[in-house]
């Protein structure tokens, strides 16, 4: 409260939010969504809001911009942009503030652009609004697109949004947002739908433009790593309140609120592995929207809670060395103890990956036909999966991870000649031709349990049917087995008669896991099983998967875009690019290097919540079209370590470069090791 407030006497803060309360009318009943949010973003500062879904971080931004949905209303407090009270402005003045002082970038750039207008028209429009002539506006639009590093601005101006990739679309939105040289730029989950490599580029861009323009930034994200990388200060929100605020480094390295501590401990960090420790979870559930909460919003889930937390609103305690750091908690003195509690659980036994491979993929190809063009989604995949091990699949979207999983399951039959061999017997390509025994052996946990569970059926009928079909258990035994099954996935008999919509996301995912395990599968494919879940719930699901694997000795094929999660659960990793294997090896080796240049780029793109120094390796351009892959090594068009002609003419074979570690690259492994040691990548 020192430097920044003195400064704000001269120049008004870019954004000042004070005791903001927002209600949403749900069937005519107002439900409190923001419970008095206060924070200030100084001019030129970058401020991050983090929190799990439903905590009100986006609502805060929308309320501050006067963009609340029809059923939302500000019930108290104020918000000011560059010194102008948004909450009490006339329509015209608000329009002026939006035109001159503030801009916004949204999560889904595809939806943020008008599908029926050319890009050039939409960007130029920003400048005509600011008073430029038509011709001038077109010129400035060209400049604006160049500034966001779009390589062919003239060409892009002639295109329509649907002709651009997600990353390009987001650049266009950013170009429009910066057109008015705003004092405040609000970014609402700007990279959530993008691949890590594209995310890294977009974040780099925002960072450098911010440095150029001096705009203040309010960044909203659920990804703690993104916030850590981009923000000077951060506010942690829970149930419509800011529970902790401070300098980003301090909040993430020395959290002072029990919730922040819990959130950070729930993440698989520092190269954590399932064999070493279980992940911490936050007990209980996120509160419902508009639920009446005790004096301290976090009390129901807090390990430090005492009577006073229920009766008295927690004080705002100043913390940290910088200005403005605070935490709302009665028990700040006891928080350091919480941080220190070691995660003692986890039996430390090495995973049971052993012996003969149970699943072998031999020359697996998947080809789609589109407009008489052949699209090779998977090319010559050779992989083994051993009993009890987890094979992690990583790669950008379009790399073929999910197609590979579907080929194994027989949902997307592989081309003739491909072999999927289970226990020495080749399986039919399509699940409908496979024996019930083969189906039972390979099951799947989908990403989104809302989609994966039939909402018309109760938990009992979902799991009961799975037992009947996959394990052949019906009649008297069924009840007993059902009880066993739900105990394994830590559900209770009370959940059996509920429909999926009556369960929270985490509980739904347990039901889905239960269904996959009903027939005692040999292999379970997990396709992004935690990406639809909040961090605190994700930890519990990962723990469950690790436990089940230990007890049931199942093998996993584990797909995730979150490398921390993959690393936590996987014994081996396979890296895919454009449907080809780039690298296969033990998890630690793949993560620690020497890596394939593509793996190296993937790793270095991930923003770390630990603020680890990042390497500056960035991939240029877009993933090439699978219908028309580059010659030679498919990665050569984007490879930061490209050798030369040989990469363009010859596809490197996947060879064993050291015991158990395969790689497809022309660069000798020793040379890679030397190169990567010289410029250390994110380890």
């Amino acid at each position: 409260m020192t430097d920044s407030s003195e400064q704000s006497n001269r120049i008004p803060a870019a954004l000042e939010v004070e005791d903001l309360k927002v209600d949403f009318l749900v069937r005519g009943i107002p439900r409190r969504v923001l419970r008095g949010v206060s924070f200030t973003v100084a001019p030129g500062e970058s401020y991050g809001l983090v929190g799990e879904s439903g905590c009100g971080k986006s609502t805060t931004a929308y309320a501050a911009l006067g963009l609340l949905a029809e059923n939302g209303r500000v019930a108290g407090g104020r918000a000011a942009i560059a010194g102008r009270e948004v909450t009490s402005l006339s329509t015209e003045d608000l329009q002026k503030v939006r035109r001159d002082d503030v801009s916004m970038v949204y999560q889904d750039p595809g939806a943020a652009l008008n599908p029926t207008l050319r890009i050039g028209v939409q960007v130029a429009e920003c400048f005509t609004l600011l008073g430029a002539s038509k011709a001038e506006a077109v010129e400035r639009a060209y400049e604006a697109l160049r500034r966001v590093r779009i390589s062919d601005p003239r060409g892009v101006m002639e295109r329509y949004p649907h002709q651009l990739s997600g990353g390009m679309q987001q650049r266009v939105v950013i170009a429009m947002a910066l057109a008015n040289d705003p004092k405040l730029l609000v970014l609402d989950e700007p990279t959530t739908g993008l691949d890590a490599t594209v995310e890294a580029e977009v974040l780099d861009l925002v960072e450098s433009l911010r440095a150029d323009t001096g705009a203040a930034v309010l960044l909203i994200a659920h990804n703690l790593g993104v916030i850590r990388r981009m923000c000077d200060r951060v506010g942690v929100m829970y149930a419509g309140s800011v529970v902790e605020q401070g300098a980003a480094a301090e909040v993430f390295d020395n959290p002072s609120h029990p919730y922040t501590v819990g959130l950070l401990r729930a993440l698989p960090r520092h190269g954590a592995r399932k064999a070493h420790r279980r992940l911490e979870t936050i007990p209980g559930f996120l509160p419902q929207i508009g639920e009446e909460l005790p004096a301290c919003v976090f009390v129901e889930r807090c390990p430090l809670a005492t009577e006073i937390c229920r009766s008295t609103v927690p004080p705002v305690v100043e913390v940290g060395t910088g200005g403005g750091g605070f935490v709302r908690c009665h028990h700040t003195d006891r928080v350091p103890g919480l941080r220190a509690v070691a995660a003692a659980s986890g039996d430390g036994s090495a995973s049971g990956a052993s012996g003969e491979p149970i699943l072998q993929l031999r020359d697996v190809n998947v080809t789609f036909r589109q407009n008489r063009k052949e699209i090779h989604a998977l090319v010559g995949i050779e992989l083994d999966l051993r009993g009890g091990e987890t094979l992690g699949l990583v790669g950008e979207s379009g790399s073929g991870k999910t197609t590979l999983a579907k080929a194994i399951l027989g949902i997307q039959p592989a081309d003739p000649g491909s072999q999927v061999i289970l226990d020495g017997t080749a399986l039919e390509p399509s699940t409908k031709d496979r024996s019930q025994l083969a189906r039972r052996a390979i099951q799947i946990v989908f990403q989104n349990p809302d989609s994966a569970l039939n909402r018309g059926h109760s938990v009992r009928s979902i799991l009961g049917r799975a037992l009947a079909k996959l394990a052949g258990i019906t009649g008297v035994d069924a009840e007993q087995h059902l009880d066993q099954l739900i105990t394994h996935v830590r559900l209770t008999p009370r959940h059996l008669d509920l429909k999926p919509r009556q369960l929270s996301g985490g509980l739904k995912q347990r039901v889905a896991i239960g269904r996959a395990f009903a027939g005692g599968p040999r292999i379970v494919v997990c396709d992004e099983p935690t990406s639809a879940l909040d961090v605190s719930v994700q930890a519990a699901i990962l723990n469950l998967l690790a436990d089940l694997q230990r007890n049931e000795r199942s093998s996993y094929v584990f797909i995730s875009h979150d490398l921390g999660v993959v690393r936590y659960l996987s014994d081996r990793i396979a890296v895919l690019y454009l449907g080809r294997l780039m690298e296969v090896g033990p998890a630690e080796v793949v993560f620690n290097g020497p890596h394939h240049p593509y793996t190296e780029a993937l790793l270095s793109a991930v923003p770390s919540v630990d603020g680890a120094p990042e390497s500056r390796i960035r991939l240029e351009g877009e993933v090439p079209s699978a219908a028309n892959p580059p010659s030679g090594c498919v990665f050569q068009t984007r490879c930061p370590r490209k050798l030369g002609d040989i990469c363009e003419s010859t596809a490197p074979p996947l060879v064993e470069v050291e015991p158990g570690h395969q790689m497809a690259c022309h660069i000798p492994i020793e040379q890679l090791r030397a190169l990567q040691l010289a410029e250390p990548g994110a380890a």
């Binding site: 911009l65 963009l67 329509t91 329009q95 002026k96 503030v97 939006r98 035109r99 001159d100 503030v102 801009s103 916004m104 949204y106 889904d108 939806a111 943020a112 652009l113 008008n114 599908p115 029926t116 207008l117 429009e125 920003c126 609004l129 329509y160 649907h162 002709q163 651009l164 990739s165 939105v173 429009m176 057109a179 008015n180």
Partner: protein
């Protein structure tokens, strides 16, 4: 785009083929002796056989269908059982009058529906919205002939401002004809207004709630400019197909309306043919109405594909 047009036209031709097959199948669902039906139970068997030979109704069904297909191409639908006139001639004469009525109704309905729908969307949840929505709902739920009787009672009988029979004097000018067609057209307007207004309203609401509209608002545009530049075009695209399908169905509604207002049109012709079991005329009428629907939807799809860059330029490269 060209590929799309060719595909769409080819599909329309397939639909036309199926359409003719359906009509033919329904017309021949019961085995029947057409000659006997026309000449009556007391005619000599030789005369019946001779008539059947003339009409071609003694041929196997497959041949009869092929003849119908040939008729579609050469625009020859045989002769009316009732009058012996070529079906082509009676259909074309009456179709002209029906088209006058339909065009007048559409010229009134489309602008009213669009304006009403957009206006309701902008006043969503308020009184004007509820009135427009309820009127549209009520209007489109009531059969045309019921609407017609109300209008005749109100405007023709009670207020006596419009002629209740659309029989204009021979050689009347366009103005007079419109005057005589106004009441039947109005009863069609009442029925079809609701569909167009409802779709326009829904399209506008979804465009208003879209992210790109919010982007435009955040650029600092005035609401009027946002509406003009960003909302309307996206909002009204889906309404085009509704207008097309309603054009097709409007011709179906002519049956009752033309009967009530005594319009010498296709609809009345078909009802008369139905009473006389004159199947060639009736089938030809059904086919014409089906073709009108088909052509209207075809044109609408082509228009939409031209207005929508996503179709015009194909999917993401």
């Amino acid at each position: 785009m060209l590929v799309y047009v060719i595909r769409r036209v080819a599909l329309a031709l397939v639909t036309l083929l199926l359409l003719s097959l359906i009509i033919f199948a329904i017309a021949n669902v019961l085995p029947q002796n057409v000659g006997r039906a026309i000449l009556g139970p007391f005619a000599a068997p030789e005369a019946v056989a001779e008539l059947n030979r003339q009409l071609g109704t003694d041929q196997p069904l497959v041949n009869q269908y092929l003849r119908l297909l040939k008729g579609i191409v050469t625009f020859d639908f045989g002769t009316s059982y009732q009058t012996g006139q070529p079906v082509r001639d009676v259909v074309t004469t009456t179709l002209v009058n029906s088209s006058k009525l339909a065009v007048l109704a559409l010229l009134l309905t489309i602008p009213l529906g669009l304006v009403g729908g957009v206006f309701a969307a902008l006043r969503k949840g308020r009184l004007a919205d509820r009135v427009i929505v309820t009127l549209g709902l009520a209007g489109s739920a009531i059969p045309e002939f019921v609407t017609s009787t109300f209008l005749i009672f109100l405007l023709g009988l009670k207020l006596n401002v419009l002629p209740v029979l659309a029989t204009w004097p021979e050689g009347s000018g366009v103005g007079t004809q419109i005057y005589y067609l106004l009441l039947p057209a109005l009863s069609l307007v009442l029925v079809y207004f609701g569909y167009i207004a409802r779709m326009a309203r829904a399209g506008t609401i979804s465009a208003l709630e879209s992210d790109y509209t919010r982007t435009a608002t955040m650029k600092g545009m005035s609401r009027a400019a946002v509406l003009r530049r960003h909302v309307l075009r996206n909002a009204l695209l889906p309404t085009i197909s509704v207008i097309a399908t309603q054009t097709g169905y409007l011709f179906g509604g002519l049956l009752a309306v033309e009967l009530i207002f005594n319009v010498n049109g296709l609809g009345r012709l078909m009802v008369t043919a139905a009473k006389a079991k004159d199947l060639p005329v009736l089938s030809a009428g059904v086919l014409v109405i089906g073709v009108i629907y088909m052509v209207a939807t075809l044109l609408a799809d082509l228009l939409i594909s031209w207005l929508n860059p996503r179709i015009r330029l194909g999917a993401t490269s």
